[in-house]
């Protein structure tokens, strides 16, 4: 019982840290939106803000004593997460639209996710998984088109999150595994935060309007 409690506490800390990493990326994207006025950054900001809120709700759900309320908070969390991945995917869609490869990626992947229709929470995870696979595929395509090495770092982060979400779907009740996929998601979000070093290197000013 005590061991389970420790696992739950560590799981909570991991989820909280992941939410903070997503929130930090969201703030950086907001800075980008303020500096450039680009809708890409607005979508990136909204996406990571939703992800941060979703991850926070998922972390808090474990602490709710009432089982029904806990499940409801978890569903809200996974829905917010799926919404965040949707906005992220939308940014990719706008970047590479009219590309036949993207449409192919969009059509192929649902087969993986539709088989998991067991609960609302699982459906939301399946949606997140589908969107993550789409985002990862688009990011890889972007790398091959532009040969920009920081893109590869993001791909590794996205793949870690994708595997984390996949494991979460396959073994949702295994508390021991929760630490494994929790760590994978945290590492993934930390890697996605790492492009902030580009901004630290150049220190751009946000021009006054």
């Amino acid at each position: 019982m005590a061991a389970l409690s420790v696992v739950t506490s560590v799981g909570f800390i991991l989820q909280l840290a992941t939410a903070i990493a997503a929130g930090a990326t969201s703030l950086t994207a907001y800075k980008g939106y303020r500096a450039t006025g680009s809708p890409t950054f607005l979508r990136l900001f909204s996406s990571f803000a939703l992800l941060a809120l979703g991850l926070l709700a998922a972390a808090l759900s474990a602490g709710v004593a009432d089982a029904t309320l806990s499940a409801a908070v978890m569903i809200i969390g996974s829905s917010l997460e799926a919404g965040g991945y949707f906005l992220f995917a939308l940014s990719h869609f706008f970047t590479v639209r009219r590309d036949i490869t993207s449409v192919g990626t969009l059509l192929l992947i649902p087969a993986v996710s539709v088989s998991a229709l067991m609960s609302v929470n699982l459906i939301m995870s399946a949606v997140s998984l589908y969107l993550l696979l789409y985002i990862s595929a688009e990011t890889v395509i972007f790398y091959f088109q532009n040969r920009s090495s920081p893109t590869l770092i993001s791909v590794s982060g996205l793949l870690l999150i994708t595997v984390g979400v996949l494991l979460e779907m396959l073994a949702p009740s295994a508390a021991d595994y929760a630490l494994v996929f929790g760590t994978m998601k945290l590492l993934g979000f930390l890697i996605l935060f790492s492009p902030v070093t580009i901004l630290l290197r150049h220190r751009p000013e946000v021009p006054s309007k």
């Binding site: 990136l44 990719h92 990011t139 972007f142 920009s148 996605l192 000013e205 021009p207």
Partner: protein, 93 residues
């Protein structure tokens, strides 16, 4: 494949074209070729950027030259940094 350029990228391309041209200022004809846009759109955009203080318009005998202002230089530098940041996510601004 059609390449779509957002308004932000069009502005960045124009400011880059001005910066990369002569120190004394760039002519509209040169900018038209480098920034790849129509004449009317170019005139409208350059006027807007002059109004916002990003470009400086220098009248010459036949037409005008355009130079980057300090604010324009700062804006372009910031834009290029954030462009690199967006590319790390596989995105274009």
């Amino acid at each position: 494949m059609t390449t779509y350029r957002s308004q932000v990228r069009v502005i960045a391309d124009l400011l880059r074209a001005v910066r990369d041209d002569s120190e004394d200022g760039a002519k509209v004809t040169v900018l038209l070729r480098k920034a790849n846009m129509s004449y009317s759109r170019m005139i409208e955009l350059t006027e807007q950027l002059v109004e916002n203080g990003l470009l400086v318009k220098i009248p010459i005998e036949r037409g005008s030259l355009y130079k980057l202002s300090d604010k324009g230089r700062e804006f372009l530098s910031s834009m290029e940094t954030f462009e690199e940041y967006a590319e790390a996510f596989g995105l274009k601004i």
